[in-house]
């Protein structure tokens, strides 16, 4: 092969530079982010999701929820995320350090789910949404099992249809656990201090 070493060098440079720019540079910048230890709460934030929520995340990925739902809140004054009560503060890189596959989302057809655990209080709320759907969200009724009703319906039942009760399947249960665990912790002091100077300056100008 003519100019073999040159071709190899060119390929090496192309892949090496893109790796350095995309992976190495990012890792150097953000790789050392650690959870913030809150002395008053005696806990570190963000907290790791419990096991059942991690299983729910697989269902979330499997169903393609990220096609319509994002998990990233924009800052107040940029977009209307705060007005829509999708979060009290914007999302920071530190919020995602425990997640291996980020579900940032592809488009915002549906509401942002970063803090959905704060809006939907119980698994029942999630089941109702999943079973019935909304005007813009399809019904995920295949996540529910139909079984003959003998006496009282199960407390988890979302509906009773001619002698049968509709109960959530295991997939629906873990998905609900995942969604109810989506909550942003309170503001981190470092990010808050670094990102709030502009507001003060603007006030000073007024």
């Amino acid at each position: 092969m003519k100019n073999g070493p040159l071709l190899f060098l060119g390929l090496f440079a192309a892949f090496g530079l893109s790796w350095a720019g995309l992976a190495l540079g990012t890792s150097l910048q953000l790789g050392s982010l650690a959870p913030y230890y809150d002395q008053l709460e005696n806990r570190a934030f963000p907290e790791r999701a419990p096991g059942i929520a991690s299983r729910g995340k697989l269902v979330y990925q499997d169903l393609g929820c990220a096609a319509c739902h994002t998990q990233e809140v924009r800052r107040a004054g940029f977009g209307s995320d705060t007005e829509r009560k999708w979060g009290d503060r914007q999302s920071y890189a530190r919020d995602y350090i425990h997640q291996d596959r980020l579900q940032l989302g592809l488009s915002r057809v549906g509401p942002d789910l970063t803090n959905v655990g704060g809006r939907l209080k119980t698994a029942g709320d999630v089941f109702k949404l999943l079973y019935h759907g909304t005007a813009t969200m399809p019904a995920y009724s295949f996540l529910f099992d139909e079984r003959p009703l003998h006496a009282e319906p199960s407390p988890k039942a979302v509906a009773v249809v001619d002698g049968h009760e509709i109960v959530p399947s295991a997939r629906a249960e873990v998905l609900a656990a995942y969604l109810l665990n989506l909550k942003t912790p309170a503001d981190y002091p470092v990010e808050k201090a670094v990102n709030t100077v502009v507001a003060k300056k603007e006030e000073a100008h007024k």
Binding site: L40, E191, V197
Partner: protein, 217 residues
């Protein structure tokens, strides 16, 4: 790959260099020898593009956050900020009190008559800083008189080294809280003051007795 030298038209010798030049002159003779229709680059364009580059550079400098990893707002430039968290010692002290002291001294700070002495209005809590710090640091055993009642059936375990291993700032916070809660109105105790007493009594590992503490000024 290359053709043999004898079959290469360049080596056939059918056209000498002079003949080739002559043929070329004849071919270009009837072409006008004008200078082409191009113009020089207008100088203004150079200034326009320099201006654009200057604008772009300035914009990037002002609204990129200098690509700092902690900046999530493009309007902010990197700057020095004090990011140390200042805990309110009263709030922190209350958390600490509720995590440990509350078991014996009760949420009301009144203790249990005959067993656990009260903190509310206690002359020990509101007395000299040194005595209260020593009690919390190493604990207390033996009979002790608080507000005219005698306690001492259950010794107080050490909270500092050898017991709960609370650091000086935690002891300062919990004392500051106790000295202003339950109707007490004594002043705060600083971490420096606790560290000062701590350095004095590092050799002492046993719990204090009431008499030992009363000998202190």
């Amino acid at each position: 790959m290359s053709a043999p030298a004898s079959r290469d038209p360049r080596n056939s010798g059918s056209l000498s260099d002079e003949e080739l030049l002559h043929a070329h002159e004849q071919a270009v003779a009837d072409k006008t020898d004008d200078r082409g229709s191009y113009k020089l680059l207008p100088l203004a364009l150079l200034f326009v593009f320099s201006g654009l580059i200057f604008f772009g550079g300035t914009y990037l400098n002002l609204f990129s956050g200098h690509f700092d990893s902690k900046i999530f707002d493009e309007r902010i430039l990197p700057h020095k900020v004090d990011t140390t968290v200042k805990l309110d010692p009263v709030v922190y002290g209350q958390k600490l009190y509720e995590s440990l002291c509350i078991t014996c001294h009760q949420p009301t700070g009144l203790g249990v008559p005959g067993t656990f002495p009260p903190l509310a209005g206690s002359e020990w809590v509101n007395g000299t800083e040194e005595r209260t710090i020593r009690i919390v640091m190493n604990g207390l055993k033996g009979p002790v008189t608080v507000k005219g009642n005698t306690f001492g059936t259950v010794p107080m375990p050490p909270v500092g080294p050898g017991g709960q291993n609370w650091t000086d700032d935690k002891i300062a916070a919990v004392l500051t809280y106790v000295r202003q809660a339950f109707g007490n109105t004594s002043g705060p105790i600083t971490e420096e003051r606790v560290a000062e007493i701590h350095a004095k009594i590092t050799a002492h590992t046993d719990q204090w007795t009431s008499d030992e503490l009363l000998k202190l000024p």
